[in-house]
Structure formats: C-alpha cells, structure tokens
C-alpha cells in the first residue's frame, strides 16, 4: 500500500471536544473525523447534509494517521458570544442579556504531519495526491474553525507495510497511537524521562448524519517525540518511520 504524507499548520487551531456544542476545550491534534473533513475540503467534496455528507462516504475506507511535529501549546482566547440558549429561535437577545463572554482553549502554532492511505486505488486518491503535490485545494482547508486557515505542504508518497502481532517487542512510533484494548498501559509503554505523555479519547468514525459511531483511546507525546511502545499492529514506511494508522473497520474491540 502507498501512503501520502503532508504537513499541515497554521497560527491557531480549535478542534472542539465533544462534551457540549459550546465546549471550551480543544483536542491537541485533529481527530480522525476532522482529518476526513480537511482532506474532503482539499478534494472539494460536499459536506452538505443534503448530499449525505458525501466526503464521509468517499473517505470511509481511507486510513489516517497523525503525527505531532511541534510542541503542543495552548492559549486561552476570550470570545464575546451572542446568547442563543434562552431564545426560542436563536434570536438575538435584548441588550442586557445579549452577549456572554467565554474563554476558549485554542492551540497556538499547531504543526502536524498527516498520513493518508487508501487500500484500493481510486480516482479520488489519485486526485488527492495530485492536488497536494501541486499545493492545490478545491475548498480552503482550515484547522477546526474557518478563521484558522491551514497551510499545507507535500512531504512524500511512501510504500508502507502493516506489521501485526508484535506485542512482545518495543518499537519506536512517531505518530499518535490507539491504545484500545490495553487496560494497563504500564505493561506496554516504556516511560522515559523528559517525555510528556497524554491520553485522550477521540472520534474516529461518523455515519452519514455525522453521528460519531466509533471512538478510540489514544496516547501521544506532547512535544511530538516518539513513543517506545508495544503495539498489536503498526505500519512501517519504506524510510524506516513507524506510525499508527486508524482503519475504518478496526478489529480491536473498544476497551470501555
């Protein structure tokens, strides 16, 4: 299988957590569902509900990986929002109650490497590679919200091998990994001083109504350094880099 790697960055990013519609927290990197949106925007695929979110259908069988390149930094951004909760039709409220202030956690100077693979050759895959190689995008890609315009750069196209059943051996992994099905991470992770480990739960799959159908528990290092870890499966690029890819149909049962 071939895998496409490209870098994506911007001044700011906001990948809202899913606890509430107005959640003030951000994921530290674009979750897999967001990566599908970014790739969908580059390809110019519709995200209109009337088209059943066409991009999700096209990208459903693609594999995605995400690597943190620059250290994660957050900034607390104050916003002045229009109050809509108490109003029946999201109307603008009378002046004394019309605004409320909130603080939104925002990522500063985000920089990532995105890996995209397709098990089957398709015209969309070829088009994606062509677009990114030529620094082209049909719609304007952004990092979470439209004002955080993303810049991107082609990195390479690599042959990649899936390595399975390697639970006994520690390997160095450069990307965010899924630790679904692992109950006690201390048996699998080599903890090294100076590294900052972070665990989170991210959305991976959505149905055509944009309802999340699969979450994954993930582990990553906050400064973008490698994890020394035992994994049931990983992918090895021809240049020796090892990464984890999120597959659409994951065979590992959800841990919780």
């Amino acid at each position: 299988m071939k895998i496409l790697a490209f870098d994506i960055w911007g001044d700011w990013a906001l990948f809202k957590k899913f606890y509430t519609t107005a959640s003030p927290l951000t994921f530290h990197f674009p979750p897999i569902t967001t990566l599908k949106g970014i790739v969908g925007a580059i390809l110019g695929l519709s995200n209109n509900p009337k088209d059943n979110n066409f991009y999700l259908e096209i990208l459903g069988d693609y594999l995605f990986g995400i690597q943190i390149i620059k250290p994660i930094k957050t900034y607390r951004m104050g916003y002045n929002w229009i109050e809509t909760k108490k109003a029946k039709y999201m109307q603008i409220m009378p002046p004394e109650k019309s605004r409320y202030q909130t603080i939104i956690e925002t990522l500063k100077d985000p920089y990532y490497r995105v890996y995209v693979g397709s098990k089957e050759e398709s015209s969309f895959w070829d088009k994606l590679v062509e677009l990114i190689k030529n620094h082209k995008s049909i719609f304007t890609p952004f990092l979470g919200i439209s004002e955080h315009i993303a810049e991107f750069k082609y990195v390479g196209l690599y042959n990649v091998d899936k390595i399975e059943n390697s639970l006994k051996k520690f390997v160095s992994i450069s990307s965010v990994v899924s630790i679904d099905g692992i109950d006690d991470i201390s048996d699998f992770l080599k903890i090294e001083s100076g590294k900052v480990y972070q665990r989170d739960k991210i959305p991976v799959e959505m149905d055509n109504n944009r309802k999340v159908t699969k979450y994954s528990t993930v582990l990553y290092e906050m400064n973008g350094r490698d994890l020394i870890i035992k994994l049931k499966k990983y992918w090895q690029l021809e240049n020796g880099i090892r990464i984890y890819l999120f597959e659409n149909k994951m065979d590992i049962p959800s841990s919780r």
Binding site: G78, I92, K136, T140, I149
Partner: protein
Amino acid sequence: MSELLKNRHEILFLYDVKDANPNGDPADENKPRIDEETGVNIVTDVRLKRTIRDYLCDYKGLTVFVKEVRKDSGDLETKEERLDELKINSPSDLLDKCIDIRLFGATAAIKNKTITFTGPVQFRFGRSLHSVKIDYVKGTTVMPSKESKKQGTFTECYIVPYSLIAFYGIANENLAKISKMTEEDHMLLLEAMWNGTKNLISRSKVGHMPRLLIDIEFKENNYHIGDLDKLVKINSDYDYEEIRDISDLSLNVGNLLDVIKNNSTKIHRIRVSFDKRLNVVPRDSWANLSSYTGIDNIEFLAFD
C-alpha cells in the same frame, strides 16, 4: 448582477492603530488581545468582518444580515423578525439580498429556514508585526453616575500606543459558486476593508489607518501561495514596543515580491492600495512592481 467570482484570490491587509484598542478581550477586562508568549497583538477575524459589514451597510447602503437592529422598544431584532423584514423566504433569497452572507457565509438554525453556507472569504486572526506595549489609561467623567452626586466618576481603559496589524485572507472561487459571491462583491470587500477601517471612529477605535492592501488573483486553478502575512517584516530603529508612528518603521516586502515572482506564471493580476506614509523596502517597490514581480497586470486601487 455581475458574474460570479472567477478566480482564487489571496489578500494581505495591513493597518495600524494609534492610542486605541484594536480588539478587546471580553474575558480579560477588555484589554487588547495579546499573545503573552511573544507580545504580539491579536485581532479576531470577526472584528474585521464587523468593520466590513458596517461599511457596506452604513456607507454603501447594502443589505447585511448580521447586524444589530433595534426595534422602537429598544430591543434587538430577532433573526426571524430580520428575515421577515428583509422579505427573505428561502436561502436563495438570503444570498440574493445579503452581501455579507455571500462573502462570509452563515450558519443559523431558524425554524423552517435553516441555512448553512461556508463563506468563500475567510480571514485569519490579524497579528501585529511586532510586539506591542499596553497602556492603562485612567480618566474622569464630568457626568456623575447617579443623581445628587457632586462629582463625576473615574473611567479606565486599556489601549495600545501603536500596533501595525496584518490580516491574511483567501477568497475561494469554488465556494463562491455555492454562495453566489460575485466579482463586484469582491471589489466591494476590498473597498470596505480599506475605507471601513478608516471610518472606525468610536472612542475605543479612533486612530485606525489602512496602510497596505494586496490582492493577488490567480489564473492557475485551485492554487494559492499561502501564509502571505509571514512574508513581510518590519524594521525599526526603535525597540518594537517603543514604536509610536508609521514613520518609526519600514516594511520589508522583498520576500513577498520574490515569492510573487516565483509564482508569476500562476498569477492573473495584482491589485494594490498603499498609503504614502508607509515606508517600504525596497524603496521603489510600488513604482517598479511589474519588474520586481514579473507581472504586467497590476491595478492600483484608489478608494478615496
């Protein structure tokens, strides 16, 4: 009506602010927004969009949707009332009538009239090209806060003595097809950025001046250069936080002109508006723009 936006555009817009508050942080005593790590002043995209909308509505007499409209009772209009007032019955009516929806899109959950458009025009947050100082200004008012008081009250506000802010934006021709943004809308957008910024004359905003606007129109499909705001740098004999006027600095556009030249085969046209008080390096950049960039199709915009 003019034709739909044909090509991708990339916009770089610089304005400066003197003794005013470019964009207050409502969650931090309305202080100017500052990136504490670098001292850089931040202005949100919605501040710039407000400037554009107000100009288009108040000076050009165009219909904009996102606007505070007071009823006689002093209450704000609801979105539903606004839709009825504008005689908007469908999303396409909204696009026909409201220039801000054509430019910036909208998401609104209104009963039976739900609309979702991603706007073709997107702006990043603006950033000052240098670290800024923040001043805390105390004053007194002559009007007492309550009846029968013998003296006025104290006021306080935060300002920046000087900040030169760069905004970066993209107008996407593929999204323009969906939101019906026209070539004419694009020209109005540029005019509104320039003149609207000049027209900010409320107490906290007076002291804004547009200094440079560059609009690059591409002929290469689906292509843009990217990160234009990172290609200009300022030089000054003063420490950055001691800059107090546009004459205290010069703007180095050498990198930007080089990058434009490298992309010249992909570019259809460059539109430029500049303020004569802005010193640029190289000094003759505007007079010799064609030879610096290899592009003949250059249009100087005068909005006054």
